[in-house]
């Protein structure tokens, strides 16, 4: 029987969002919207935990402190550019 064609994924030039990993997306998001103050974070997930928990609290998401699917989905959702925290 014919086998389904394997989809080919392409990197589209200039397409910032699809080129980011989940962690990069999270770091960028937490910094942009005021949850972390230093853009360059060490890559330990635990150090993100506190910021993630604050984000989850602010966005009324389940407070797991983890980069779980609900949080990633929220980070990919269209939103306002005014930071959530900070002046």
């Amino acid at each position: 029987a014919p086998r389904p064609r394997q989809p080919t994924f392409v990197v589209f030039p200039g397409d910032q969002q699809t080129n980011l990993t989940d962690l990069q997306l999270a770091e960028d998001y937490l910094y942009r919207y005021g949850y972390t103050h230093v853009a360059e974070m060490n890559r330990e997930k635990t150090s993100l935990g506190r910021a993630l928990r604050r984000l989850q609290q602010n966005l009324a998401l389940p407070e797991t402190g983890e980069l779980d699917n609900a949080t990633l989905e929220a980070m990919r959702a269209p939103r306002c550019g005014v930071p959530d925290l900070g002046s």
């Binding site: 994924f9 392409v10 030039p13 910032q16 009324a60 269209p78 939103r79 306002c80 550019g81 005014v82």
Partner: protein, 615 residues
């Protein structure tokens, strides 16, 4: 709810705002309206009023409280946007300068939340916006199309189902009109020369702002007349690496050719297209129009910031940071509490909606070629050329009054002013048949007819009884035709024909006698073609008809829209009047003149208003 540190707020209530520039995604009027409605949400629950101002009304634009701007990526405030989706807009808390301003990411597709907003012109939908998707001849369209037209003009249905509703309009197109510039909205002239080079499409050459423009005469170098090309929001891409460009169909991707927007190659399943014919070679692309983001909802949120509200963690509230499309009233109790914490509740009586200080923006002047709607528009359902008709020359003004000779003989006892409304021709919705007989237009209906007196103050005389004048005829006629040469008058009803020569009648005879097959169930009308020749119509077909032999040439059958583009396909009566052909459908007529062998619709109007001159 949250407010900004120190409860930043405006210390006056009459807030002014200026829309500094506009996105191409929506008509300006729609953008202004979206902003006005967004401000109205806040003025409804506070003592605040919002007034849109224009540069010419203010001494110094620095005095304007809220400046609204569309921009891309880094747009001058140090907080860059991020391309399509993601970050949609932002605003600054109240205060001087940039404080209180609101910025919108023009890499987004701005809409009213339900897909592109494409205003139409002409057609018969009074400028209503396109409805996407719509079905035409069973096929679904998500963009404007030229299908069904022979002139290549782009059109769309303004309801979901054109096949049923027949509501349509023409889409923005430089062949229809241009915007701004100095050519009064005239359409582009292709090719045109600019700096000695010939252009056969809109161009951005010669401009630094990337706006597409064209000349409205053959030579811009000589005439200096130009206009901007309307945006085709329905097929302009957003984001990617060529925002503002249009999809190019077909295009090649991974060696395959595609003629629609595709999801191939993407993990996120979003629709995209190439903006050149070969993505593999050029790597130029953008996202296809989707539902877009409601400018009204996003503006309402950003204006909350501009008035002093910060984000809330109540997901249902307007000031929650995430975009969520809703058609309900967007203000939540949390939002009202927040804004009233800053400004107090609205003092009674009713709030005033935002006012604008400038006169209504003028609609663009209609092109000199009036496609379908005469300048003086009657009630809104005035129809125009259907998708099967071409744009045509505008009307040349009302029909000129005929010669003023006395009316020819007719049953003189007919009252000139009907007493019983049923006798008033102006009350007839659709006539059975209309024909010019003895230089007078006759209107037949249910066994009676009216005769249009000519000369100054044309009036319908009658009603007269058909049986008094043509005793052999049935009460219900389909059409009538007088041969200008022999003055014989043909009357058609169903599959029967009568021929009157003066008072003597031949018939009824079956249509077979004229050489028409059984599938021809009635005759819609006959148009004279000179030298004893005519065209005999039935539904969407017509034949050459020899008046002398009273027979059609079966081989000559052709379809109406081939020779008479622009007329509706479901015409119920066709007649000739003063050298012009009239195609009637419902209460309307499409007038076709045959200047130099080209048939063109040059007027569309009401039978009662424009022919019978009813008040």
């Amino acid at each position: 709810f949250q407010t900004f540190e120190g409860d930043l707020k405006w210390h006056h209530h009459d807030i002014t705002y200026w829309v500094q520039n506009y996105s191409e995604d929506l008509p300006r009027g729609v953008i202004d309206d979206a902003f006005a409605r967004a401000f109205a949400l806040w003025s409804a629950v506070t003592p605040l009023t919002f007034t849109q101002v224009y540069p010419q009304d203010v001494k110094d634009l620095k005095d304007v409280d809220i400046v609204i701007q569309f921009g891309y990526k880094e747009h001058g405030d140090g907080y860059p946007f991020d391309g399509k989706d993601g970050l949609l807009a932002h605003a600054f808390p109240p205060g001087p300068g940039i404080q209180g301003d609101a910025h919108f990411d023009d890499d987004e597709l701005w809409s009213l939340g339900k897909g592109v907003v494409v205003p139409t012109r002409f057609g018969n939908a009074d400028g209503a916006a396109c409805h996407f998707p719509f079905t035409f001849e069973g096929r679904s369209y998500t963009a404007c199309t030229a299908d069904g037209r022979s002139d290549g003009m782009l059109w769309c249905s303004t309801t979901a189902d054109y096949d049923t509703d027949h509501k349509f309009g023409f889409c923005p197109s430089e062949r229809l009109y241009t915007q701004n510039g100095n050519a009064d909205g005239k359409p582009c002239e292709f090719p045109f020369t600019f700096e000695g080079r010939s252009y056969s499409a809109c161009t951005t050459d010669g401009r630094s702002d990337g706006q597409l423009w064209c000349a409205t005469t053959a030579s811009y170098d000589q005439d200096r007349l130009y206009g901007f090309c309307p945006t085709r929001a329905d097929s302009t891409v957003t984001g990617g690496n060529s925002p503002g460009k249009m999809c190019t169909f077909p295009f090649v991707f991974l060696g395959q050719e595609y003629s629609t927007c595709i999801r191939e190659g993407r993990r996120d399943g979003r629709l995209w297209c190439s903006t050149t014919s070969n993505f593999d070679r050029d790597k130029k692309w953008g996202f296809c129009p989707d539902q877009g983001y409601s400018l009204f909802l996003v503006a309402a949120h950003e204006f909350g910031h501009a008035l002093g509200l910060d984000h809330t963690s109540v997901p249902e509230a307007l000031m929650y940071p995430m975009y969520r499309f809703t058609e309900e009233h967007p203000l939540h109790e949390d939002d009202v509490k927040g804004i009233q914490h800053l400004y107090g509740p609205r003092a009674e009586p009713e709030p005033r909606p935002p006012t604008t200080t400038a006169p209504e923006p003028q609609p663009t002047a209609p092109p000199t070629v009036c496609l379908t709607v005469p300048p003086t528009v009657r009630p809104s359902e005035r129809p125009t050329t259907g998708p099967t008709g071409p744009p045509s020359a505008g009307p040349t003004g009302p029909p000129t009054a005929g010669p003023s000779e006395a009316p020819t003989a007719s049953p003189s006892e007919a009252p000139t002013v009907p007493l019983d409304p049923a006798d008033d021709a102006c009350n007839v919705y659709i006539f059975d048949a209309i024909a010019e007989i003895r230089d007078h237009l006759h209107f037949f209906k249910n066994g009676r007819y009216w005769r249009l007196s000519e000369g100054r103050g044309r009036r319908a005389q009658g009603p007269f009884l058909i049986s008094d004048t043509w005793p052999k005829l049935p009460p219900k006629l389909d059409s009538a035709f007088e041969d200008p040469l022999t003055k014989k008058v043909f009357f058609f009803s169903g599959r029967q024909v009568w021929v009157y020569t003066g008072a003597s009648a031949l018939g009824p005879r079956r249509l077979d006698k004229l050489g028409l097959g059984p599938q021809v169930d009635h005759v819609t009308g006959v148009l004279p073609r000179g030298e004893g020749k005519a065209l005999l119509f039935s539904r969407q077909r017509f034949w050459r008809f020899d008046v002398k032999t009273q027979t059609v040439d079966p081989e000559s059958v052709a379809s109406v829209d081939q020779m008479f583009p622009g007329v509706p396909l479901n015409t119920h009566d066709i007649f000739q009047y003063r050298d012009k052909a009239y195609f009637c459908q419902d209460r309307f007529f499409w007038r076709v003149n045959s200047r130099n062998e080209v048939n063109q619709v040059d007027q569309v109007g009401y039978v009662t208003f424009d022919l019978l001159q009813c008040p």
